[in-house]
């Protein structure tokens, strides 16, 4: 019987293939040497429904990179950001943090993850002892809880509890003026949504004891259809609605709410509307009470306006809350590195604690990094939306004295202090 040529590879080529495969796999693990540049690792959510968080952070950091390199970099060495996308997955965030430090040789970290990722990164930072600034995580526990706080990790993002106090004071006043006693809440059903809503309500009730929460709705994050939630809300007939929905979810909610004429039946308050979201949501109803995530006109200073315009000029879109936070992180790093004259985690930690920087984003032109590794003094304001520039008007600045007073009380309640 003649032997037909069998399909498939010969033994030799099979071996060759396996060898090539092994080499390809091994290649990334052989560390690459690089001399002078300081690599700074930045990881965030660069895809998915909340991609705006990561992309606007990255935009800001690119501007900072150019600015800092133009003035000689850090310690005379140019800086270079290495960006990674964790897609919002905590175990990927942990892996990326380790990879950025261990393989790519990053000497500093800018963690632009959202809350869930930031806790994962925190553990890696605790293990590795590298300097890290969290720029987007708003969950207070990251720094307030002494069990979770890490020696070399700091946060420059706004804090949930600060916003809750400031927002509640404003909304209580607003509700008292307009006689809005019946409220409803609609927030995404995950830790941020639940905890922050609870925080707001806790303080709200303190400032306006006669508020009545007639109903609450908890759609899932990323839920495509809000119909049954909207009808539940309209039936309960609240006078006002507090919602923590954001980005794509908020847009869908607005569109679906418009179909039910929701916004003509109740006033809406939300702390979460960023510029690009305001621009992207079609048919946005006016008169939504909102916090100023980033606003060029608040603080109303030339420095702030200049920063906002520069960002717009470079990226052709307005900065978000995440943009200014990342910019602030680099300002802190810049000053701390100069002071400590080193990139070492412990040295930077010592320098950063208690540090005050001059910055356009401070309520009074400065922001301070507190002993518990989180910032205070940044501009928080509330106003109402309008369908065109600057999108939020009648902005009232928050009272930091009150914020800190109630924050301390809250920390005692949570047994953090």
């Amino acid at each position: 019987m003649t032997r037909t040529r069998k399909p498939g590879l010969s033994r030799r080529s099979t071996l060759a293939l396996m060898g090539a495969g092994a080499a390809t796999f091994a290649a990334p693990w052989v560390a690459r040497a690089d001399a002078n540049t300081i690599k700074i690792g930045m990881q965030s959510i660069l895809s998915g429904p909340i991609a705006l968080l990561g992309t606007s952070s990255r935009n800001s950091l690119m501007i900072e990179q150019d600015r800092i390199n133009a003035t000689g970099g850090f310690l005379g060495r140019p800086i270079e950001f290495v960006f990674r996308d964790s897609k919002g997955q905590p175990q990927e965030a942990a892996r990326l943090a380790r990879e950025l430090v261990n393989t790519t040789g990053c000497e500093l970290l800018v963690d632009a993850e959202a809350s869930s990722g930031s806790f994962a990164v925190q553990e890696v930072v605790r293990d590795l002892g590298i300097a890290c600034v969290h720029t987007n995580s708003e969950t207070s526990a990251l720094t307030a809880d002494p069990k979770i706080r890490a020696p070399t990790a700091f946060r420059v993002a706004r804090q949930g509890v600060h916003d809750a106090v400031a927002g509640s004071i404003y909304l209580a006043e607003f509700a008292n003026t307009k006689k809005l006693n019946k409220w409803a809440t609609c927030s995404p059903d995950y830790a941020y949504g639940r905890d922050t809503t609870a925080q707001y309500l806790q303080f709200f009730k303190q400032f306006k004891p006669d508020v009545e929460v007639v109903t609450d709705a908890w759609p899932k994050l990323g839920q495509p259809d809000f119909t049954e939630v909207i009808t539940k809300l309209t039936q309960a007939k609240p006078q006002a609605l507090f919602t923590l929905l954001y980005a794509g979810d908020l847009s869908a909610f607005v569109n679906q709410g418009n179909v039910y004429a929701l916004f003509s039946q109740m006033t809406v308050a939300t702390p979460n509307v960023d510029y690009p979201v305001l621009a992207a949501i079609k048919n946005l109803p006016p008169g939504i009470q909102s916090a100023t995530r980033y606003l060029e006109t608040f603080p109303d200073t030339p420095a702030n306006k200049e920063w906002g315009e520069a960002y717009f000029k470079r990226w052709n879109e307005r900065p978000t809350n995440w943009s200014w936070q990342n910019s602030l992180a680099m300002q802190f790093y810049e000053q701390a590195i100069k002071k400590a004259n080193s990139l070492d985690g412990k040295a930077l930690a010592a320098a950063l604690t208690g540090m005050k920087v001059n910055t356009p984003f401070g309520a009074d032109g400065t922001i301070t990094m507190r002993e518990d590794h989180t910032t205070i003094g940044y501009a928080i304001g509330w106003g109402q939306t309008t369908p065109k520039e600057p999108f939020i008007i009648d902005v009232k600045a928050a009272d930091w004295g009150k914020i800190i007073e109630f924050e301390t009380e809250w920390k005692k309640q949570q047994k953090y202090i």
Binding site: T14, T24, P90, Q91, R98, Q122, E123, A191, R194
Partner: protein, 311 residues
């Protein structure tokens, strides 16, 4: 015996590498591979060996991770005890879930395991007070000492995970080549014949499901060690998908296929994230190349190619 020799050699090689060249990235890779190898190989006990396609295997991986992390955070039990406890809890859960699911035929089995996993995931997310909800368990796992391994050190963690993985795989191999394993394959090939021969189908399937769940839980323990915590993503549907892909890519008919598949997926992930943010595009093309080009897992393909010239 031969398996023990192979395992010993593999272990010696893996443990020797850091002595020659320290590469934190490689060590991280092996740590993650250990977890995933156990996960994927345990799944193949169901898929490749018994013909039971489970879409929900991730729930045991996640359960192992959470049980372990919670035990470490809430009690002072030592690491091996906590790990054993986690594996035990997962085994028990697999037994319960299996009891409900194994009587269903293939397609429906896949769907119901998926439904149970989704329910489990939704419970993790809702039970915020215990599990931390969608943020996972925060605060880290206290890095303790075990048998002289200081797990705070990456090298020791690497060694520990490699040893656990090799031992676990050895155990799975033993089960797979045992008469019980052969019974499973008989069920996969022709369940009627198997039942005519006196095999109680549902009991064998339940055993397989339980054992698979137990080893997936062990993989979860290693995963929890790596991230120093536990996250709901470990128990989510897409993670079950990862195990399925590892099995398919590596070879459903080879014992080490899933390990190879896991290696490929993890390496691709690591390498591609470094060069482009469009990992999905690259991964998708690679998967299509495997699925359409090779039409079988790599190890299966290599075995056939090798054997093609052995006559």
């Amino acid at each position: 015996m031969r398996e023990m020799a192979v395992a010993a050699i593999a272990l010696i090689v893996v443990l020797a590498i850091p002595l020659l060249h320290r590469s934190p990235a490689f060590e991280d890779f092996i740590i993650r591979l250990s977890a995933m190898a156990l996960f994927a190989t345990s799944l193949n006990l169901l898929v490749g060996n018994t013909g039971m396609v489970s879409f929900g295997h991730g729930m045991f991986y996640g359960l192992g991770a959470y049980a372990f992390a919670l035990t470490m955070q809430m009690t002072d039990l030592s690491l091996p005890v906590a790990a054993a406890l986690a594996a035990l809890i997962t085994t028990f859960a697999a037994l319960c879930v299996g009891a409900i699911c194994v009587r269903l035929s293939t397609d429906y089995f896949a769907f119901i395991t998926l439904a149970v996993q989704m329910l489990f995931y939704s419970v993790i997310i809702s039970w915020q007070s215990l599990t931390g909800g969608d943020q996972g368990l925060r605060g880290g796992i206290p890095r303790r000492e075990i048998f002289g391994f200081e797990l705070a050190s990456q090298l020791h963690m690497y060694q520990f995970c490699a040893i656990v993985a090799v031992l676990g795989l050895l155990a799975l191999r033993h089960i797979s080549t045992s008469p019980f394993g052969q019974t499973l394959r008989m069920i996969r090939d022709n369940e009627n014949r198997a039942s005519f021969l006196g095999v109680v189908l549902w009991r064998a399937r339940l055993w397989a499901f339980t054992i698979a769940g137990a080893f997936a839980g062990l993989g979860g323990v290693l995963a929890a060690l790596f991230v120093s915590g536990a996250y709901p993503e470990l128990a989510d549907w897409p993670n079950s998908g990862q195990a399925i892909f590892a099995v398919m890519l590596g070879g459903i008919n080879s014992f080490l296929g899933p390990v190879l598949g896991a290696m490929i997926l993890l390496a691709l992930n690591d390498v591609v994230t470094r060069f482009t943010e469009y990992q999905g595009l690259v991964l998708g093309i690679v998967i299509l190349a495997f699925a359409l080009g090779l039409r079988r897992g790599v190890l299966d393909f290599l075995k056939l190619a090798w054997l093609g010239y052995s006559r």
